[in-house]
């Protein structure tokens, strides 16, 4: 079990899930369009795209 922090609140999440799946499973209302649990992560609509940082020190917007 991993831990994710959303708006300062810690929640447990399965590291094997993708981030969108994990957040939705926690009951959070995130916008998404092309993702469906039966189809997996398509990644085409870009609605749930996130910025990825290298670590806590990384202040540049990662790609």
């Amino acid at each position: 079990m991993g831990t994710i922090y959303i708006d300062g609140k810690a929640s447990g999440a399965d590291p094997k899930q993708n981030l969108l799946h994990a957040c939705l499973s926690l009951g959070l209302n995130l916008p998404y369009f092309c993702w469906h649990p039966a189809m997996g992560s398509v990644g085409a609509c870009r609605q749930c795209a996130v910025k990825q940082f290298k670590d806590a020190q990384d202040t540049r917007a990662g790609s």
Binding site: G43, A44, C45, R46
Partner: protein
């Protein structure tokens, strides 16, 4: 010494295709005979050393692409080689000339690529509209089977290859490597996520190499005459010759095989005969619609991968579209963006939605209904077409004419908005 033109010098002048006998008499299938005495890895090495880079637009080193294929007894089977003959880049007509004029050259190149990666099956994926190329290739494939260049025990060796001609159902997307593979599998031509790359998991999940027609047509000559000879054909570091074309208001639009690295000026002034009387040069898309405009200050840029990139554009297909001063740069940009918006496969939102949005803005500007802020909106939209925001290169390609037109012809865009009309229209 007259310049060598290995790709085109044997194409008959009268518009006929070079026959099998004619091709063989001029050295055809000698490269294959030589390769069959080598190991597949040695053939890969020869092509790698030659410096041949993909002629379809992206310019990836061909030998290196081949070297990513799993080899040997444990490799997944069957393996595939595919000739990408879905030539649909606006302004581009070079592969068609090669297929209509010398179909056996492409077939030999495809057999050699197949041998180099130990492929079992080869496809030529050809654009639906290329009827004459289809007829000539179909006949040439049959001839190649009948004399033992295809099928089992090619030229009495252990190597076997089956070859099929597949006629595309259409659309620009089918020329994108992974879109092509989906189309060949009978699916809608959407791009696939990479990795895995086709070299490892391509057609029906098996290792697959996809190469452009001009790229493959070079391979027989490299195997026949050697990598050193091929390097020597070029004026610059990027090896070989290149089919260059020019369309637009030049005196003699056409297609010429010249040493790689010939300058834009030489191609446009000497080969295309300069601009027509009464019109002036304003800019050029150096390698088809999906490349950035270059302008007068770039005329002495050498047309090779490295130099054109350094100038801020791409060599692309090497077939230039020339913009003159009697043609509206906003109009040409709107026209090109319409093409890309229409050809978007609908998969990634920045592409299907963003390109359509951009056409509306560009049409409005051209119709005299542009508003202040429209140009910022276009720049903002084009940011989302940059590589990494979409699965394939269609949107990044569409961004190139737009972003460069905004850079070089910004005054014209602003005048359209300010004067609420296009001054090229009466």
């Amino acid at each position: 010494m007259p310049t060598e033109k290995p790709l085109t010098q044997n194409i008959p002048a009268g518009g006929e295709a070079l026959s099998l006998q004619g091709y063989e008499r001029l050295g055809g299938y000698q490269g294959l005979r030589r390769a069959l005495q080598m190991t597949p890895k040695q053939v890969q090495e020869e092509v790698k050393t030659s410096g041949l880079r993909g002629r379809g637009g992206a310019g990836f080193p061909t030998g290196m692409k081949w070297s990513f294929t799993p080899m040997g007894a444990d490799a997944p089977r069957p393996k595939y080689v595919v000739a990408n003959a879905d030539e649909m880049e606006p302004g581009t007509f070079k592969d068609r000339y090669l297929m209509e004029g010398n179909p056996h050259q492409l077939i030999e190149g495809l057999i050699l690529a197949g041998f180099a990666i130990e492929a079992d099956v080869a496809f030529i994926f050809i654009r639906g509209e290329y009827k004459l190329s289809q007829e000539r290739l179909a006949r040439a494939i049959t001839e190649a089977y009948s004399v033992g260049y295809l099928g089992r025990n090619i030229l009495s060796s252990d190597y076997a290859l089956e070859m099929y001609l597949h006629v595309s159902a259409g659309r620009y997307m089918c020329g994108e490597e992974t879109g092509l593979l989906n189309a060949l599998e009978g699916k809608r031509a959407n791009p696939r996520a990479k990795p895995p790359f086709p070299q490892v998991s391509g057609l029906w999940g098996k290792p697959t190499i996809v190469n452009n027609v001009e790229t493959l047509s070079n391979v027989p000559h490299i195997l026949e005459k050697g990598a050193k000879w091929f390097q020597g054909l070029s004026l610059t570091k990027d090896a070989g010759t290149k089919l260059y074309g020019a369309s637009g208001k030049v005196k003699r639009p056409g297609l010429w095989e010249l040493p790689m690295g010939t300058t834009i000026r030489e191609i446009l002034e000497e080969h295309a005969g300069g601009m027509r009387d009464g019109v002036r040069f304003r800019g050029v898309l150096p390698g088809g619609a999906s490349t950035d405009f270059l302008v007068e200050e770039h005329l002495d840029v050498a047309m090779d991968y490295t130099s054109v990139e350094k100038a801020g554009s791409r060599l692309g297909t090497g077939t230039m579209i020339v913009l003159d001063d009697q043609t509206c740069p906003v109009g040409i940009t709107a026209n090109l963006t319409h093409f890309f918006a229409q050809e978007s496969c609908g998969w990634c939102t920045p592409c299907w939605s963003g390109l359509k949005w951009a056409t509306k803005i560009l049409d409005a500007i051209e119709d005299g209904q542009g508003r202040p802020g429209d140009l910022d909106k276009l720049s903002y939209l084009s940011k989302f077409w940059s590589p990494g925001h979409t699965f394939c290169a269609l949107a990044p390609g569409a961004a190139e004419p737009v972003q460069s037109a905004l850079k070089f012809f910004r005054d014209d865009f602003e005048r359209h908005i300010h004067e609420k009309r296009c001054s090229w229209r009466s």
